[in-house]
Symmetry: C2
DNA sequence: AATAACCTACCTATCGATAGGTAATTTATA
DNA sequence: TATAAATTACCTATCGATAGGTAGGTTATT
């Protein structure tokens, strides 16, 4: 893993625990064994790092999702696949969704970071709309925003109350 | 309004835009016309201020909600009342729910602040469970966590994408 | 006189960022 | 092929700004 990749990985962990202001160049640098000044070689400004972090996170997330039609073809409900990705973030990473946290503090983010967080949700809504459409939902856009809202909210509350059963309860069908 | 109240009001605005680290004693002080050292007279530490802020926010929120049975008696759906309180926070304050934001960064908060955020959600879940019970829901606890998750998530996404129609879409019944 | 509500004046720690330099590697040119 | 130029990936040292917090003095109220 290159130093640049290591920096992004370290930053991701920090941000997913406490938001954009929860990482500093000094901390990241010391964690991976370089000096804080050298971080500026890889990322001119903190906003540049934050934006690239959110961008790569979005790409990795969408990539892990695969395509809704592919899941349908395999006899799987794409919404279950989507839910499972959130669940594993909560259970294994034990951390918030990066863009869920950044989205909440959206108003105070540098413009280029905010842009990437918007991109995350737009792409997620696109994917979910396609998925609900494939499921034969009458109002796929409607269902899409409900799905992502419910999951982001349930994740936040489970983290806050430190009890994953809230997530399970929230995602269980009525 | 006393200086102490003014400090809490100023802090609330900052936190609801960018989280716990988005306010400083210096900024608050200068906004209300005192010196930063004087803020320590009212709140010994930043954590004390944050905790009292979350505590009072919770009290005000619960107070504004009234009681589910009372709404029922007036022929109103308490869940609609609850949704409307979130909606007005988004539309009029144009800000996140204080505890929604703090909850997301829960892992990095001082213990006493985190405690108050937990209290907010526990009380909300209690209220919502009672409300769904009054509505004749079979699984009121189930429905309660779904309601608050959906609203917190929808609020965050609407703020992020800067479009309140997402909130409306998410809260519209299927 | 006592207490509340400030103040000035400071502290230490940390922040993001910059300037200027170095050693090692890669690329371009004669 | 030898050498010159440029690039990569760091470094030390330092900047001004800001963070939360403290000690001790002053002013206003009761």
């Amino acid at each position: 893993m290159s130093k640049k990749e290591a920096l992004l990985k370290a930053a991701e962990n920090k941000v997913r625990l406490g938001g954009y202001s929860n990482f500093s160049f000094r901390e990241l640098a010391s964690e991976i064994g370089i000096k804080s000044a050298s971080v500026h070689y890889h990322f001119p400004t903190k906003a540049d790092l934050g934006a690239e972090l959110a961008h790569q996170y979005t790409n990795a997330f969408l990539n892990a999702l695969g395509s809704p039609s592919e899941h349908k073809a395999n006899g799987k409900n794409p919404i279950e696949v989507y839910t499972q990705l959130f669940r594993s973030a909560l259970l294994f990473d034990k951390k918030m969704c990066l863009c869920g946290l950044l989205g909440a503090e959206s108003d105070s983010l540098p413009e280029k970071v905010r842009f990437e967080v918007k991109r995350f949700f737009n792409q997620n809504l696109e994917w979910l709309t396609e998925a609900h459409l494939a499921n034969g939902e009458q109002q796929p856009k409607h269902a899409a925003i409900q799905t992502v809202s419910l999951l982001e909210g349930a994740m936040m509350i489970s983290k806050t109350l430190d009890d994953n059963s809230y997530f399970e309860l929230a995602t269980q069908p009525a």
